[in-house]
Structure formats: structure tokens, C-alpha cells
């Protein structure tokens, strides 16, 4: 059995199918402005806590994409970092009474520290074995959190996490304003991810994803790069998890359970891996869908999202973003070729 992820899971990166296709800078800038406008307008059109959920899950998915789409590593235990930060953020906010952005940054920092030993152990394996090590680690944390009732509240979770924000009451009480106060944390995470993939380091990651043996022969310490990106990814997942727990006002075992790791992978693949854009898109679809289904009293949400996932993997391997981009590219190609024929 091959240890390479690309052989065992046939999910293609959105960027990989048409290797010569790169977004031109104007389109990219336009997309960025559009995305910012959408993010700013979101709580005007969607119930603000749901909008906040979309951003938190979107950022969580970006952290997974950093590993899956850009390094070729499938983490099936990313709830460990999202959940750890959710708890640590909550504890800092409750016990120390610090403003929530400080608490979230603290949570993300602890998630990164935790990722150092996890990454160190996990990157020695590839493919499905890597996924299993990360899953095992997340499960261990889940049981620890369940046992440490004094700290985590066990099955009751950590209740009453305050949204302290320098005494500004509107933010602390109104989810609409809280959204805008938390937005910089989300953007910070997205920026960190973008910076990472568009750095020399990001170039090495792509090399490792596509051909680890070649990267090693060129002198790159593949394991060290993988640990580094794993820690960066954990920090971003931690930012997302911290914002999520403050937004909800509690942190529960739900944040550490393996289904959460599964859901974020689903969201990432649904949106399309290897572009960073896909994650937020997938998050919007899944969070809105769950919200609609839950408010209509439907209980089998998992069946719907599961079916969608199966359809995506079978029919649209590149996810929403990749399939959409392909479609546009094909339309444009057929237009230019027919134009040439006319001339």
C-alpha cells in the first residue's frame, strides 16, 4: 500500500488540474475586495451569530487546507487545536477577565505549543497513517478534557465565557457588534495563511506536496517543514476555535470530538482544496445548510451533509471553488477559440 496521500485519496487540488492556469493579479485583487465586502456585509443579511460561525469554520477550514491542499497532509484530528483553544480562550476570559481578543490569542498560542509534539510525532508518517496519528492525539485530548472536570466542566462544558472588550458594552452584549470586533482575529488568521502559502516557505511546501523525495534530494528537511506548517496551521485553527467559543459563550466537548475534525475536512474538501478560498466557501454552504435544516426542525443533518460530501467526492473532486474556476476557464477558452474561428 502506498503511503502517499495523493494515491490513497483521489481528491484533486483545485489549482492542480489546469497547471498553467494562474489567476491574474487584477482578478485576484477584485476577488479579495469582493470577499472583504461580503464579509463586512454578512451580519446585515444573516443572523450575526451564524455569520460568526461561518467565519470561524471558514478559518478553521483554511487551516486544514494549509496542510491538505498545500502540503499534502490530511489531518484528521484538527479538532484538537480548535478545541484546545476554545477551552483555553474560555479559561483566560473567565478566570483572568481579559478582553476576548487577548484570550483568543492566548488560546491560539497554546494550540501552537500543543502542535509541536503532535506534529513531531505525526510527520514521521504519511497518508492514512498521518491521519491516524492526528486522530489518536485528538481522541486523547477529548478523554483528558472529559476527565478534567474541575478545569473543563466535563460534560457540562465551560459555561459563561464573557465577551469582555475594553468595557465597550455594545460589543459585549450585541452579537452584531461582536462580529465586527472579532473580525480582525479572523482576518489575521486568513492573512497568516495567505502569507505562508505565498512565501518561499510556501513554495517549498508545494514541492513537498508534489514530490517529497525530490525535495529532500535538493536538501530540504521535509520533516522540519511539515512540523512548521503543522504548528502554523494549529495556530490558525486555534484563532478560529477561540473566536467560536467566545461567540457562543461556552466551550464544550463538542469542540474536541472527532466529528468536529471530520466536519472541517468535509468543509474544506467541499469548498475545494489548494486555493485557501474554498474553505470559507464550504463553510458558508455547510453552516447555512445546517442552520436552515435545524430551524426547520429536521434532525438528520448528518445525512444531508454526508450525501453532499459523497456527491462532491464522486462528481466534483475539485470542490465548489475548483469546479467553478474550471467552468469559467472552459467558458473563456471556448469563447476565445470560437472568436478565432470567426476571424
Amino acid at each position: 500500500m502506498s503511503a502517499q496521500l495523493t494515491d490513497t485519496t483521489r481528491v484533486e487540488t483545485a489549482a492542480s488540474a489546469a497547471p498553467d492556469r494562474k489567476l491574474n493579479p487584477f482578478v485576484r485583487a477584485g476577488l479579495l475586495v469582493l470577499a472583504l465586502l461580503v464579509v463586512l456585509a454578512l451580519p446585515w443579511y444573516i443572523y450575526p451569530p451564524v455569520a460568526m460561525d461561518i467565519l470561524a469554520w471558514g478559518l478553521f477550514a483554511i487551516s486544514v487546507d494549509l496542510l491538505l491542499g498545500f502540503t499534502g497532509l490530511l489531518s484528521f484530528g484538527h479538532a484538537a487545536f480548535w478545541g484546545t483553544s476554545a477551552y483555553v480562550t474560555g479559561l483566560i476570559a473567565i478566570r483572568l477577565g481579559l478582553p476576548f481578543p487577548v484570550a483568543v490569542l492566548g488560546g491560539a498560542l497554546v494550540a501552537m505549543l500543543l502542535a509541536i509534539p503532535t506534529g513531531y510525532l505525526a510527520v514521521r508518517r504519511t497518508g492514512i497513517y498521518f491521519a491516524m496519528v492526528t486522530l489518536a492525539f485528538a481522541q486523547m485530548l477529548f478523554f483528558l478534557a472529559n476527565q478534567a472536570r474541575d478545569i473543563t466542566g466535563g460534560e457540562n462544558g465551560l459555561q459563561g465565557i464573557p465577551k469582555s472588550f475594553f468595557g465597550i458594552e455594545l460589543v459585549e452584549t450585541d452579537p452584531f457588534y461582536f462580529y465586527y470586533a472579532a473580525l480582525p482575529l479572523i482576518l489575521l488568521g486568513a492573512f497568516a495563511a495567505w502569507r505562508t502559502v505565498s512565501s518561499p516557505f510556501g513554495r517549498v511546501l508545494l514541492a513537498i506536496r508534489d514530490n517529497p523525495a525530490r525535495a529532500r534530494a535538493l536538501g530540504y528537511d521535509v520533516e522540519r517543514y511539515k512540523i512548521m506548517v503543522f504548528v502554523i496551521s494549529a495556530g490558525i485553527a486555534g484563532l478560529a476555535g477561540g473566536v467560536f467559543s467566545v461567540s457562543h459563550g461556552f466551550a464544550s466537548l463538542q469542540e474536541l470530538i472527532w466529528q468536529t475534525s471530520g466536519k472541517v475536512v468535509l468543509i474544506t474538501v467541499l469548498g475545494g482544496i489548494g486555493t485557501l478560498w474554498g474553505g470559507p466557501l464550504g463553510a458558508a454552504v455547510v453552516v447555512l445548510l445546517e442552520d436552515q435544516l435545524a430551524s426547520s426542525g429536521f434532525n438528520g443533518i448528518g445525512i444531508i451533509t454526508g450525501t453532499i460530501f459523497v456527491l462532491i467526492v464522486l462528481l466534483f473532486r475539485k470542490g465548489i471553488w475548483g469546479t467553478g474556476a474550471d467552468l469559467i476557464a472552459r467558458l473563456r477558452a471556448s469563447r476565445t477559440s470560437s472568436g478565432r474561428r470567426d476571424a
Partner: protein, 249 residues
């Protein structure tokens, strides 16, 4: 320059490389030949750290490098190419060279810098591409190259950091005649001022390039010497052509 002492690699009872003693002098072009399964690629992987030996030593300028990691060996001035073309299909040719040239600088660890930083290697990268005749294709992805060009890019990548020891695993595998001759010229040029060890099945390539030859069979050294010496060695003829082959010389 490169010496192995009783180098042995066992794969669960199967001995792929058995007590091999190589001695490659500085500045030489040394060929490893032998039938399929003779242990050539295993030996290559041992020399470059992709496998660690069961026993024995690998001495690079007198230092034992057995058990070191591939990236460590790469930083000691050893570069290799792969038997099966091994590139980054989605990267452009120039991006390949930039990546190779950036490796010893540690720039790759900079996750906070712009990737434009890599363009400082552009001029040198273009020079290297020019040397293998690929300068005009610097902007296309490796995946879209013709086979012979991919092999040339492999060599270019291996040469990027001016290695003192160059290891080429079947540089002409699967090539047409024209590409083979071009590759021979390329390797000859690349061998100036460095030591080269290569594996090849093509006796024309071995004859035109190698100063010395080691013939492997079943993981053991069957014969050693110059190309002419081993070509006329009875044991080598038998190994390659069977008993009947002796008549053809």
C-alpha cells in the same frame, strides 16, 4: 572521494547489496552497470541516504555518511538525479531552479517573506537552464515538457548547487538516440571539476563517458576496471548474455 567498505543492505532476508567495496577517485566518471535487480538503484539510494545500510561504511572524503539523511548528504555537496523522472510537475522550470538554488541559503524557512525573494536566484537559474538548452522554456511547467527535456531538467537541478559529487541514476533511460548523445555531451561538460557516478544500461553511454566501471550482479561486485577491461571479462559476458554470448564478444 567516495569509498564504500563492505556496504550491505538486507531487505528482510533478501540481500540487495552485499559487501560492496567501491572506490571512486576524485574527478573520475564512474559507471555502475549490471542486469536488472543487480542492486544498482539500491546502492544509489544508500549513497544518497534514502536507505540506510544494514552494515558497512560509506566514506565521503573520509567521513562516514552511512545513516545520514538525504537532505544532510545533499548539503555535503552530493547531488543526485532519479531513475524515474522526478520533478515538480506544476512548477515552472525557473521555479525548479530557484528552489534548488535557495536550498542551501535557508530562505525556504521564511514563511513571513514574499515569495518574490526567490527571484534573486533568477539570473543564476536562467544560466543553468541555458547550459542544458532549456532557457527558452523557463516559464512553462515541468509537466508539459517532452521526456528528453525533463531528463535535462533533472540534470540541471542536480548541478544547481555545484556539487562535488554528482550521482546520476540512468540519465539516458528511455531516451531516443539523439537525446542520448545530447545527454552524453551534457554529462561530459558537467563532469568538469567534479566526480560523477552514474548508472546506465546503455553500453554506448558507458563506453563514451566512464573512466572506470563496476559491474554488479545479485548485489555483489562482479568485475571492476576500465570499460574495455570489463567488456572483455568472461564473467561479465556470461552475466549479460548467457553462456552463448561468449561467441559474440
Amino acid at each position: 572521494m567516495l569509498r564504500t567498505v563492505d556496504l550491505t543492505k538486507d531487505f528482510r532476508g533478501f540481500t540487495a547489496v552485499n559487501a560492496v567495496n567501491l572506490d571512486v577517485a576524485e574527478g573520475m566518471i564512474h559507471a555502475l552497470v549490471g542486469p536488472n535487480g543487480a542492486g544498482k538503484t539500491t546502492l544509489f539510494n544508500l549513497l544518497t541516504g534514502f536507505l540506510s545500510p544494514t552494515s558497512g561504511q560509506i566514506l565521503l572524503r573520509g567521513d562516514d555518511i552511512a545513516g545520514k539523511q538525504p537532505e544532510q548528504i545533499a548539503h555535503m555537496g552530493v547531488a543526485r538525479s532519479f531513475q524515474i523522472t522526478s520533478l515538480f510537475e506544476q512548477m515552472t522550470l525557473l521555479e525548479h531552479l530557484e528552489l534548488a538554488l535557495a536550498s542551501p541559503t535557508g530562505l525556504g524557512y521564511r514563511f513571513w517573506s514574499s515569495r518574490k525573494q526567490l527571484s534573486r536566484f533568477k539570473a543564476r537559474g536562467m544560466e543553468l537552464l541555458d547550459e542544458v538548452g532549456l532557457a527558452d522554456r523557463s516559464g512553462v511547467t515541468a509537466g508539459s515538457l517532452a521526456y528528453g527535456q525533463k531528463r535535462a531538467l533533472e540534470i540541471s537541478l542536480a548541478l544547481a548547487n555545484d556539487p562535488s559529487l554528482l550521482l546520476l541514476d540512468e540519465p539516458t533511460a528511455g531516451m531516443g538516440l539523439e537525446d542520448v548523445d545530447r545527454t552524453i555531451a551534457l554529462v561530459k561538460k558537467a563532469s568538469q571539476g567534479r566526480t560523477v557516478v552514474f548508472v546506465d544500461h546503455n553500453m554506448h553511454v558507458v563506453g563514451s563517458l566512464a573512466d572506470s566501471v563496476t559491474v554488479l550482479q545479485s548485489g555483489e561486485v562482479l568485475a571492476e576496471g576500465t570499460y574495455d577491461e570489463v567488456r572483455n571479462d568472461e564473467r561479465v559476458i556470461t552475466a549479460y548474455l548467457g553462456d552463448a554470448g561468449g561467441d559474440h564478444g
